[in-house]
Every structure is written in C-alpha cells, then in structure tokens.
C-alpha cells in the first residue's frame, strides 16, 4: 500500500516571501497592426522590467498572424493569459504589473476582510460557560 501524499501547509509571507509569478511569455506578430504597441513595449520597457524582477523568467516569442498576448505562469502550475491587442505601451505595462503581482489563483470575490485558518483565540461562545444574561 502506498503511503498517502502529505501536502505541506504553505503560508507564504510568514517565514520567507516567495513571489508567485514564475514566468511571463510575450507573444507578438511582426506584421499585424494590433501588435504595434506590444513591439514598442518590448523594445522600450521590457528589459528594465526583467532587470528589476530577476525571479521572473521572461520569454519573447513571435506568434505570427495572432493578436499579441502575455501569458503568466505561476508556482501553483496555473496560468493567466491577457490579450493586449491595440494597447499602448503604458497600458501593456499595467497588464504586466497585474500579472506579476497576482498568484495563480482564480479571481474571486473576497467576502471577508480576514482569511484565517487558525481557530478562534477566545473560543466559540457557549451559553453554559457564560454569565447569565442580566437586564
């Protein structure tokens, strides 16, 4: 019988912080007009970004006859793809920052202000262990 896999409890940020974005792949087309802003971004701003973030692997690959796309790969194995057709370099830089600062988790609605896995410090209220209500 094979022993069951024990998954470590990851609490990124408590001991050490590991940025979740592993790789950014930039696809562009040499000819098409929707890649104009992307090509300008690749020439002007990408090298500076890559130097500032040495933990991110940056790959630039032509993808002919397709819209320009940025694909981010994360440590949990998931990826996020953003189409940047007809965008200016400043807007593309914004999308790159968005991908860089995310984790691979899906976008979700955060309903509570604090997400916690620790049990409550003061315990759950019980009517048998509280002083009787007085009016």
């Amino acid at each position: 019988m094979v022993a069951p896999m024990v998954h470590p409890v990851l609490k990124n940020g408590v001991g050490a912080f590991i940025p979740q974005c592993r790789r950014l792949v930039f696809h562009y087309c040499e000819r098409s007009g929707s890649s104009r802003g992307m090509i300008e971004y690749l020439k002007k701003d990408l090298i500076q970004f890559a130097k500032e973030h040495p933990h991110v692997e940056v790959i630039v690959t032509p993808r002919p006859s397709k819209h320009p796309v940025i694909r981010g790969l994360y440590l949990n194995g998931k990826d996020k793809v953003v189409c940047v057709r007809n965008m200016e370099p400043t807007d593309i830089a914004g999308k790159v920052a968005l991908l860089k600062e995310s984790s691979g988790n899906r976008m979700k609605v955060f309903k509570k202000p604090v997400i916690s896995t620790t049990e409550s410090v003061r315990g759950i209220w019980s009517p048998f262990h509280a002083a009787p209500h007085k009016i």
Binding site: G13, V14, F17, P19, P113, S116, R122, S126, H129
Partner: protein
Amino acid sequence: MLRSFTSRMVGAAQRTNSAVTASAVRLFSATSTATQATTSSTESSSTPSTTPSELSLLRNQLRYYAVAEIKSRPYLITKNDIIVLDRLKDVKLGDVIELNQIKELGSKDYAIQGAPYVSSEYYSIKATVIEQPKGKIVETFKKKRRKHFQRRYHIKPLHTLLRVSELEVKA
C-alpha cells in the same frame, strides 16, 4: 488597561465541557479575587495604563489576537492570517509593514484595550504584502419600476493581500 474575561466565568457551571478547553483562569479567580476585581473592566479603571504584572498575565497565555486598524478599518487578526485590503498604492510585493494602530491586544482570558491605541511597547505585529490581485466583477443593479430607470454598474475591485507574519506580545 487590562481586561479580564474571567468575570464571565464566575458563577457559571464548574464542570468543563469537552468543546471548551479547561481554562487555567478558574484557578486564578478562585484564589485571588482581589486582583481580579482590579483588573475587571466593567467599571472605569482608575489606573488606565497597563502594569508589568498585568502584561505578564497576558504573556503567560498561549495564543493572541489583535484588533488592528488599517486605513481606519478594524481587522481582527491572529498570526498567519491573510488581510484583504483595498489596493495600497505605495507598497510593493514582499514589503513588510509594521502595524502600530492596535485597538485591542488579547488572548483567551485577558485583553488590553487601547485608548485609543495600545502602546507599541507591548507588541510587535508585522505583515508582508503577498499579492495584489484583481477581484471578480461585482455588478450593482438599480431599478425603479414603472419609471423607466435601470442602471448596471460593474466594478472589478483591486486588492492588496497582507499576511500577518508576526504577532508577538513583548514583556
């Protein structure tokens, strides 16, 4: 000002429920009721500051919580929690933020209530910026019936996630 939660236990059933851990404070309330009276907070205390003996009571406990005020909003946090905030503009991934507006610092049996904040000599609370994601689209739909008025607003909120990396009570 140190607040004791033992005042709730006095007069209650003495048998322990398995769901509630046996509190060492019951010993405290039985032996030294005089000390308990001074630390009970239902009346206004004549000594608002926390004495070292009161702080050592808190330090002898096992786990702590804090009510931190970040951008004028309270967050009840323990260690390893994730705080979900609106996007902080002046912060990068991996930055460590020291929280110093703490309204309440407590444990199972005792709490220090700040007036308005707890003195920062008593604690060390740090949070790391782990992520700055975009939330899911939130739709607000407004309609006034029979008045030909309806609106749909779409927001994609920007967040900053902080992980509470340290929450310690100092001696």
